[in-house]
């Protein structure tokens, strides 16, 4: 893997360390030999073309799918070798925004956001209500507390999903294609919100996306997956990759194909 450009920001503490990860569906291997580190406070981008396994990698990172091989270590704890109670404890530190929002359709937005709070905190109901309203307001959905997911638009569902993901103030936030299906302004607002969360709360953010504007606007670390060779071919700050990567496929991806034409 001579093409792997190791340009991770130094001097930071690793929060997730992935070693020798192989992802497979049955006997079909999707990606192998994935090795990368996500540092505390990073906005880490998982990039690559459609269908290369970005969302699957995310599912591995949040403990929804067991790796075929390799380890995923959070702060020194290997997820799949840990005891179930330890796994639960780790999961509670994650906040996840799914591609479609994945709101529970039988509950109102307020109930969706309140669920994790009611389950894992001992806060009094009034305080939970206040917190829920605040989280919803944070994503621009103040006043939508009593709406059901079926009554709001796709972009709003996504934002409500983000409010739920942030309910327990997680120190790791995962986003699966946050800007897909959003208009440019909303996508930009979501990007700003991600930066804001990362800077003000110190949250580590992992984003699956192929929106170039987002990648450069928010990312400071990344991994590039190439389905042709079934592994990662680059990692590091996307802006630096754009300047320094020797891999034409990476440059091509980061320049919407313009790079190939210029060279």
């Amino acid at each position: 893997m001579n093409a792997t450009a190791e340009v991770t920001t130094e001097g930071k503490e690793a929060i997730i360390r992935v070693t020798g990860l192989e992802m497979a569906y049955g006997s079909f291997v999707l990606m192998r030999d994935l090795n990368f580190t996500i540092n505390r406070g990073d906005i880490f981008i998982i990039m690559g073309g459609s269908g290369c396994g970005k969302s699957t990698l995310l599912k591995h990172l949040v403990g929804l799918k067991r790796p075929a091989k390799g380890r995923i270590v959070y702060d020194g704890t290997s997820y799949w070798e840990a005891e179930p109670y330890e796994q639960e404890r780790l999961k509670r530190r994650f906040g996840i925004l799914f591609q479609s929002g994945a709101l529970w359709s039988s509950m109102t937005l307020a109930e969706n956001v309140a669920m994790p709070l009611e389950q894992y905190t001992k806060l009094p109901p009034e305080q939970i209500r206040e917190l829920v309203s605040f989280k919803l307001a944070l994503v621009g959905l103040g006043g939508f507390e009593e709406f059901y997911p079926s009554e709001i638009s796709g972009g709003m569902k996504k934002r409500a999903g983000l409010a739920r993901a942030m309910a327990l103030d997680p120190d790791l936030l995962f986003f699966d294609e946050p800007s897909a299906g959003l208009d440019p302004i909303s996508a930009r607002l979501l990007d700003d919100l991600i930066i804001e969360l990362s800077e003000s709360l110190g949250t580590t953010v992992v984003v699956v996306t192929h929106e170039l504007a987002s990648i450069f606007a928010i990312g400071n670390n990344s991994v590039f997956l190439d389905p042709d060779v079934k592994t990662m071919t680059a990692s590091g700050d996307p802006k630096r990759l754009l300047r320094e990567s020797p891999d034409p496929k990476v440059i091509n991806f980061l320049t919407r194909g313009e790079g190939a034409r210029q060279s």
């Binding site: 994650f94 994945a102 039988s106 994790p116």
Partner: protein
Amino acid sequence: MTPSEVKIERTPDGALLLTMAGDWKLGNIGPSQEGALSQLAAGETARNIAFATGGIKGWDSGLLIFLARIFETCRREGVEVDKSGLPAGVRKLMELASPENQRTGVTHGGKRQPFLVRIADTALDQVKGFREVVEFIGEATVVFIKMLRGKAVFRRLDLVTTIQETGAQALPIVTLISLLVGMILAFVAAIQLKMFGAQIYVADVVGIGMVRVMGAIMTGIIMSGRTGAAFAAQLGTMQVNEEIDALETLGFSPVEFLVLPRMLALMLMMPLLCVYADLMGVLGGMIVGVGMLDLGVMEYVHESKAALSVTHFMIGLFHCFVFGVLVAISGCLRGIQCERSASAVGYAATSAVVTGIVSIVVATLIITLSCQVLGI
């Protein structure tokens, strides 16, 4: 539309020049096209090939597929293609569709496996499926015990709405089916009993038949088709929308949160529905008895009371309680197992009904045999 035309000429430097003119649109294939293709295929060899397209008036996919065939022939024969004479738009599209731009190494499912391998695969799938069922039942049992100890996490509101959906809202269909089954039992019995002048015993047949087993079976089958399928579709859709993933990542157990309230609701409602179905069945029998066999209402009621005992009633209730668990488990199991597509949700619903009804029939056999052995 002017017909499409193509001429093949050899230029002085040994290259082939394809001069095209006319409307190159689908459905406007001129005879010259096929001619040109066969001429190329017949070994009109050249080092390279070029195009002159100044005479083309209009084009669509018709031109593109013609060019694709020419490019394919050239690639096979090792002839170089000079695309500079083609319209810019055509060049762009041909480039997008060129084999170099397709993903390499795409395979779908691979080669067909040998017969024995397929048998083995099927057997392994069956074993895996059986293990999933056992695991699910185990998990449901653990969660149920957790609930008895007051530690299970689920929304009370979910339980209440499911009770309403599976209980009160099922009454009309249970009424109709039980009444009709009661009448059918009475008709069948009446034909035989009338020959001996013993039509009063129709009340015994209908009463014991309905209360002991038929009321429970009919309720079970109705609930399997109505509620089991609904459970599978609900949970399957939640699977498709990633709602179940969202539960898991927040550390909620889907079995505890989604399956438990559904199972509880059916366990509570099925015996009640069963009692109601028994009553409706007896009423159906009475309608036939009074209306067609000239029995008196009080006479029929007395005979039914004499025939029935608490044992029959309890056996019926026990049946229904078991069926409630079976319907809930098969519905929820198929929903949780559902894959992530619309057709998978349909399959899950169908599969839930089939599993539900099969398990109901098997359970009935086991309970009936057990009663026989125990002499009750």
